[in-house]
């Protein structure tokens, strides 16, 4: 349980969702503990694959080791020894109203987050560049609609020859979608379909 909470804190740290104080604590733990360093490494590997920033790169994981070895050879004086900078105000990115019971024990930080049953607050509908939106409104949830059949992004016919043929038809069909209302968006089906076998 202690471990899980810490791992979850690490996940939140990677996303920049801890307060400055919390981040410092968890960071200290990561810097000390090889297992947490490994978690950190994996989080970023996963992130790189999902966001397409990772090409197949055998050997990239050794890179950190090589760099560390290279740095060990650096003269220590090159790292300027400065007085610790005055802490700037850390912008709390997501102070959840439901944060409760913050406990610090033996250098580890336990964050006990309870869903206090607080109703979701209306927030800005999106990200990036939209600093001042006058009337925040709810964004519709991206959840499974009631009654919609759950299908994966493949035809529900397992035979590869049939599936391949249907996909070809789908590509051709999408060329002809009427109305112009959807513009390029019909191609979203083509792009969204994962052509891996």
């Amino acid at each position: 349980m202690k471990d899980d909470a810490l791992h979850e804190s690490l996940s939140a740290l990677v996303d920049g969702e801890l307060t400055r104080a919390q981040a410092e604590q968890v960071m200290d733990a990561v810097l000390r503990d090889p297992a947490l360093r490994e978690q950190w490494r994996r989080h970023h590997l996963i992130s790189a694959v999902l966001s397409g920033h990772s090409g197949p790169s055998p050997g990239a994981d050794e890179l950190a080791v090589r760099v560390a070895a290279g740095l060990a050879a650096e003269p220590a004086s090159l790292a300027t020894h400065r007085a610790p900078r005055r802490r700037r105000a850390w912008v709390p990115l997501a102070l959840a109203a439901s944060l409760t019971a913050v406990a610090v024990a033996a250098g580890l930080m336990l964050i006990d987050v309870r869903d206090a049953g607080v109703a979701p607050r209306p927030v800005r509908a999106t990200i990036a560049g939209d600093a001042a939106s006058p009337a925040p409104a709810r964004v519709a949830a991206v959840t499974a609609p009631a009654g919609a059949e759950r299908t994966r992004m493949t035809w529900n016919d397992a035979r590869p020859a049939v599936e391949a043929r249907l996909n070809g038809y789908l590509l051709d069909h999408n060329e002809y979608l009427a109305g112009g209302v959807r513009g390029m968006l019909p191609y979203a089906r083509v792009v969204g379909y994962d052509a891996r076998d």
Binding site: L31, S47, H53, S54, G55, G59, L63, A79, L93, D115
Partner: protein
């Protein structure tokens, strides 16, 4: 955008001489850097050499890094320069459509640029990548949605909570569980 992640903290500590903090930065950026350098340098072993050089150069240049600019962009500039110098020293010209240092500011997602990696590397999806994608696609819907909105859209937990109509604590937990599930799939490969 909730990308005000922990780099700031790490850069500070690295500037103060903490090499382990710099190590975490390397772990954070290595994949992107390798992919970037791969646009200039074809041979994969050389790509890693150039990447290693770039990180070491970045470490040395840390004292001169001003916290106001983006660490990421700064690191990329160093990597591009290192790659170009490498090619020059081997009397090779940089590939024609490779990006210029000045373009780094306008890098809006690397998919805008032509891949220069060798065809074999490009076609090959290594085991680790495959495992991540398989695990991702096998996630229950709410976990997959949460991690998609976080990793791809860069949305903050608060915005994801609004989009998914659930409390922030639930978002945090879902993202963690998604990562955990993918991690477990990686265990046999990396463990």
């Amino acid at each position: 955008m909730a990308d005000g992640g922990p780099e700031g903290l790490l850069v500070e500590r690295a500037q103060a001489g903490d090499r382990r903090a710099f190590d975490l930065l390397v772990l954070k950026y290595q994949h992107r850097l390798v992919k970037l350098i791969g646009r200039y340098v074809r041979d994969h072993a050389e790509v890693l050499d150039v990447a290693q050089d770039s990180f070491i150069k970045a470490y040395r240049a840390l004292p001169g890094f001003r916290a106001e600019s983006a660490f990421y962009t700064w690191l990329y500039r160093i990597a591009i320069n290192t790659a170009k110098n490498h090619l020059a020293s081997q009397s090779r010209r940089a590939a024609e459509s490779a990006i210029d240092v000045d373009d780094v500011e306008h890098l809006v997602g690397e998919t805008a640029l032509k891949e220069m990696a060798t065809p074999e590397l490009m076609l090959m999806r290594d085991e680790v990548q495959q495992a991540v994608m398989d695990a991702f696609e096998g996630l229950p819907e709410e976990l997959r949605t949460a991690i998609t909105l976080r990793e791809i859209e860069g949305m903050s937990y608060e915005d994801i909570a609004a989009a998914m109509d659930c409390p922030v604590g639930t978002v945090r937990s879902r993202i963690f569980r998604a990562r955990d599930a993918i991690n477990r799939r990686l265990e046999p490969l990396l463990g």
